[in-house]
């Protein structure tokens, strides 16, 4: 049936359109036939595999193919140890291996985890994580999640109780794993002090924190009272020496040798003054400054203590605490001496904090003493790990770079021209069917068969 509005020109255009539709259908069919019969291009796949860290077997088949000379890994996440090792082995075997992030650089965020045991008789460790600022982190051990945090200033540190066998930190698709060293910490401390309240409460704080304290108190000429079983001062017996006053001066040479061989020394003003410890102390003992009345029960309780500030600091000394009093005198400083550490304290009579401080004074005083030992005490001879050539699972991104080099900006050029992206055959069949149906419908409308 003819359309009443049809004109001769319109009819001829319609016929042309029908022929174009027919040609289009034929061309689509021909192209689909050509695509389905075309052999696949192995170079493209070899050049651009997406490495699945969960499927190292498939990757092994790829790199083991003798027909390949180059492999470029387009990574969606930092691969696991097996895949990294496999690519490294392929590279070492002569294959040209390169890699780049598959879609975004954020999915391959650098992440590193280091774990160090705490110098504490009850165990524990410090886990330090380096990651880009703003990265969300989740920390876990073999039993489950422990904590989560957002990185600020490029890193974060956790102090953990107990001794987990393995720690994992995850940020996005990156996962770092570290296995803490199994150590048997030395739990003994040698205390040098005159009999008095500071000695009594220093012992209590340390013993409550799990340390065994050895001391010898001179009570009268040729009469001493011992606590524990004082032994030779060496790193086999003691993790640290605490020297509170001049009673340590007669043993200064042995204590200095102990520190140089890896022991820790906590030096209070009464011991640091004079010349006995001049070779190891962080600075000289300054003019005393009386405690601020009432401060023991407030937010900064140590300001209520007598302070003998540390002055004339050595160049290698690190200031760990300053008083908030005018002048901001140094109250705590540390330095390395040989293999050991010296921590010099400016505060005196810390027992007053415990007895006269606020409601949590006993715990705060104990934790303060515990912290002094954390910073100085020797953990064990196994503390220094033999240097490893590669970062390993503790820093998977760094390990990847160390093994394969920096990421490529793009995939390396192939031998031939890049193949033009082709439409899938199903789309071509759909186009052909649509064109033929349109042509048939148009002819039927104008009365043709």
């Amino acid at each position: 049936m003819r359309s009443p509005t049809s004109t001769p020109d319109a009819s001829s255009r319609r016929v042309i359109a029908e022929r174009v539709a027919r040609v289009l259908a034929v061309m689509a069919l021909l192209m689909a036939w050509w695509l389905t019969g075309r052999p696949s291009a192995p170079d493209t796949a070899a050049r651009d595999p997406i490495v699945d860290a969960a499927d190292p077997v498939r990757l092994a088949e790829w790199v083991a193919d003798p027909s390949r000379s180059t492999v470029h890994a387009s990574l969606q996440a930092v691969p696991g140890a097996t895949v990294r090792a496999l690519l490294h082995a392929a590279s070492e075997a002569g294959l040209s291996v390169s890699w780049s992030a598959h879609d975004s650089a954020t999915s391959l965020a650098p992440l590193a985890l280091s774990v160090a045991p705490l110098a504490d008789p009850s165990g524990g460790m410090t886990a330090r994580v380096s990651a880009p600022s703003g990265s969300p982190l989740a920390l876990a051990d073999s039993l489950g999640w422990l904590d989560s945090a957002v990185v600020a200033k490029g890193g974060i540190a956790w102090t953990l109780e107990g001794n987990p066998r393995e720690l994992t930190v995850a940020s996005g698709t990156s996962v770092a794993v570290a296995t803490p060293l199994a150590i048997a910490p030395i739990k003994r401390v040698r205390l040098f002090a005159a009999p008095g309240w500071e000695a009594r409460f220093a012992m209590r704080a340390l013993e409550d924190a799990g340390w065994s304290v050895d001391a010898s108190f001179s009570i009268a000429p040729r009469v001493s009272v011992t606590a524990g079983a004082p032994a030779r001062i060496d790193t086999a017996h003691y993790a640290a020496v605490v020297a509170i006053d001049s009673t340590a001066w007669s043993s200064a040479a042995a204590i200095a040798a102990f520190v140089r061989s890896g022991g820790g020394l906590v030096l209070f003003p009464g011991a640091a003054s004079g010349s006995a410890f001049a070779g190891v102390r962080t600075g000289t003992v300054g003019t005393p400054s009386a405690g601020i009345p009432g401060a023991l029960a407030l937010a900064l309780p140590r300001e209520g203590l007598l302070l003998r500030p540390i002055t004339s600091l050595r160049g290698d000394a690190v200031v760990l605490e300053r008083s908030t009093r005018p002048g901001n005198a140094v109250a705590l400083a540390a330095r390395r001496v040989g293999l050991g550490r010296v921590l010099q304290v400016g505060w005196e009579n810390s027992w007053e904090w415990r007895m006269l401080g606020g409601d949590n004074a006993v715990a705060a005083h104990r934790n303060w003493w515990r912290g002094l030992l954390h910073r100085t005490a020797r953990v064990s001879a196994a503390r220094t790990v033999a240097s490893m050539p590669l970062p390993g699972d503790a820093a998977p991104y760094a390990d990847l770079v160390a093994r394969l080099g920096a990421p490529s900006a793009a995939a390396p050029p192939s031998d031939g021209p890049s193949p033009t992206p082709a439409p899938p055959p199903s789309l071509l069949f759909a186009i052909a069917a649509f064109a033929l149906l349109t042509e048939w419908w148009s002819r039927r409308l104008r009365g043709e068969r």
Partner: protein, 206 residues
Amino acid sequence: MNHTSPFVFATAQYDSGDWDSAPSLPGNLIDSVARYTSLQVAPQGVAVPLASDEALRYPLLFLTGHLPVRFTPQEGRVLQRYVQRGGLLFIDDHNHDVDGAFHKTATEEVRRLIAPLVPLPNNHALYSVFFTFEDGPPTTSHELNGWGDNLVHEQLLAVRAQDRIQVLYSNKDYSSEWNFHPDNKRFMGVDPTRFGVNLVVYALTH
């Protein structure tokens, strides 16, 4: 330099009872500490109100009396803090009478505020820290003087935490035994205050 502050002997002053019933005891004990040891000791003792936080400045406190003891709420609070923080309270029954008012009330107050008193083993470090008392607490000449319960009390009582003495309690009447002028020691074969020296040395070193 040794910056250790000298030891100050402190007597607890409480509202009920007669806290100052042994006025010569502090001076006598200070004399003994200075006589037998090289410890730095203040020549004068102090009396500190048990209701004041000042008591916390003296980690060894001596408390005695004859009369019934009932600590005020504030005294009770300070006493609890004192013991929890590591102070050592030495209570001596000036009546040496286990059926006396002081004993019954003082031990009940300790039980109410801190913990029940239990016998202290006679081989405890307190008895050997300086002078050695092989049989435990030395007997006093007042225990069998016809007053009190007329018993020799074989053991002291104590509240302990992890073997540290928090409260030491005596029925032996050291308050009478040590309550004399130090010059009179020259007339005695054995100085009875020697056990007091052990108490001070123990407090300063344990």
